[in-house]
């Protein structure tokens, strides 16, 4: 998501083409061509200009609505959008990557259409295969010398990244597990909680998507409890807010195209492999 203002002027954008599977925008004002994924103009009078990235989350609607009950939601403009089938992502995921597109030749540690969460910090880039994050609840890592933590939401698909540094020190994070999230008021819902290291955390049962019982995390420094927005909601650090980091989902081949020096987070080894 990009700020349309460039040096005090508002630009109006259109879809104008495709460049190695990533779409090209053009602006009405100058006709320059912009790469959607980078926000950079690569042809035309504004060539070399960059749009300002506006921080965006990609999360499940239930999670967003819980966090923003007073928010507004884009309404379908016409029935035509339903022609865009509900399983379009799965369909696109099965498409072969066009031969000759950078990153499509099968080299590297991941299949080309692996969906990754991409982080870019201090000149370093790292790709996290989304499927491998799904099985975890929190990933503590280092990108470009910056401590980061990726929180995995209730649904296993909603992901957020934050700086993991608080008061100058890196803080580990753990999923706060519930033994039985059962319905509110159920006598079986014993309020026992346990913290497990992030790397061994199991996915919470789907029942925890219940708005009454959102997933929480504990930090290893103060034992404070954190929510999915990166806010400490209980404990000594209550009221503190982690600094959110821009992180976007992309196909591995596309991420690699624009971050040729990226590394890849490999959950099995618990480390980062060389993507080049």
């Amino acid at each position: 998501m990009w700020d349309e203002q460039l040096r005090g002027r508002r630009l109006r954008f259109h879809l104008c083409g495709i460049n190695n599977q990533n779409f090209v925008m053009c602006d009405e004002e100058t006709g320059s061509w912009w790469q959607q994924v980078t926000g950079e103009a690569f042809a035309g009078p504004l060539r070399g200009s960059r749009l300002r990235l506006v921080f965006t989350d990609e999360v499940a609607f239930a999670i967003w609505r819980r966090e923003h009950p007073g928010g507004r939601v884009l309404r379908p403009a016409s029935p035509a959008w339903r022609s865009w089938s509900a399983d379009w992502e799965a369909k696109i995921g099965r498409l072969p990557v066009v031969a000759g597109v950078p990153g499509a030749d099968g080299r590297g540690p991941l299949p080309p259409r692996t969906v990754v969460l991409g982080l870019e910090l201090r000149g370093a880039a790292r790709a996290y295969p989304v499927e491998s994050l799904r099985r975890q609840g929190a990933i503590v890592d280092d990108v470009g010398g910056q401590g980061v933590v990726i929180l995995v939401g209730d649904d296993g698909r909603s992901l957020r990244a934050f700086e993991s540094t608080l008061d100058g020190r890196r803080v580990p994070f753990f999923v706060k597990l519930r033994s039985s999230p059962g319905p509110a008021g159920s006598p079986a819902a014993a309020p026992s909680a346990a913290a497990v290291p992030a790397s061994t955390a199991q996915p919470a049962p789907l029942a925890s998507a219940d708005p009454a019982a959102p997933r929480r995390w504990l930090d290893g420094a103060s034992g404070s409890e954190w929510d999915f927005q990166g806010r400490a909601v209980a404990g000594p650090w209550r009221g503190r807010q982690l600094v959110p980091l821009p992180a976007g989902k992309d196909y591995w081949f596309d991420w690699w195209t624009y971050h040729p020096r990226t590394t890849v987070y490999l959950a099995a080894g618990g480390g980062a492999g060389d993507g080049g």
Partner: protein, 168 residues
């Protein structure tokens, strides 16, 4: 002297007319061919496609002007065969003039310039598990269902006073 289109006297006009057709069609067709989703694009091909898209509206008009003049010349000097050629040649040039003013990518993916909204509590058209792109500016929170954004590709909006282009 018979006035056949194949007559040596008229073939230069016919060749010039066909050249005008070729130029007009090439100017619009090369970018379409380059910007196919099913092929890779090199930087040089993108630069060429951009340059041709930029000049296409004017270039096709110039080609149409030439083509009209040449067709008129052939029409006056030839019988049915030459006249048929003249008229037939004008059609692709006119089509190129029209196409150069179209954005064929938006035929399939219509942009959303004036989005409408529902309050979060009333958005029954979104399933709880559907992914949304969420943004918050100056305390104003907006969710864009990914499936809708993917359909439009480009959604323009103003959130918290900031004009945004939402893409997926």
């Amino acid at each position: 002297m018979p006035t056949e289109p194949t007559s040596p006297r008229y073939w230069p006009w016919a060749v010039a007319l066909l050249a005008a057709v070729a130029v007009a069609v090439a100017v619009v067709w090369i970018p379409v061919w380059t910007l196919r989703p099913s092929v890779p694009q090199s930087a040089a091909a993108m630069a060429r496609a951009y340059a041709l898209r930029r000049i296409a509206p004017a270039a096709t008009l110039v080609a149409l002007g030439f083509a009209l003049a040449l067709a008129w010349r052939l029409w006056r000097s030839t019988r049915w065969a030459g006249r048929a050629l003249a008229v037939a040649a004008l059609l692709p040039v006119a089509a190129a003039v029209w196409f150069s003013r179209q954005n064929h990518f938006e035929w399939l993916f219509p942009p959303l310039r004036h989005p409408g909204y529902a309050p979060a509590a009333a958005a029954s058209f979104v399933e709880p598990g559907d992914m949304v792109l969420a943004v918050q500016v100056q305390g104003e929170a907006v969710a864009y269902p990914v499936r809708q954004v993917a359909f439009h590709h480009v959604v323009e909006d103003v959130v918290g006073g900031t004009p945004l282009v939402v893409t997926y």
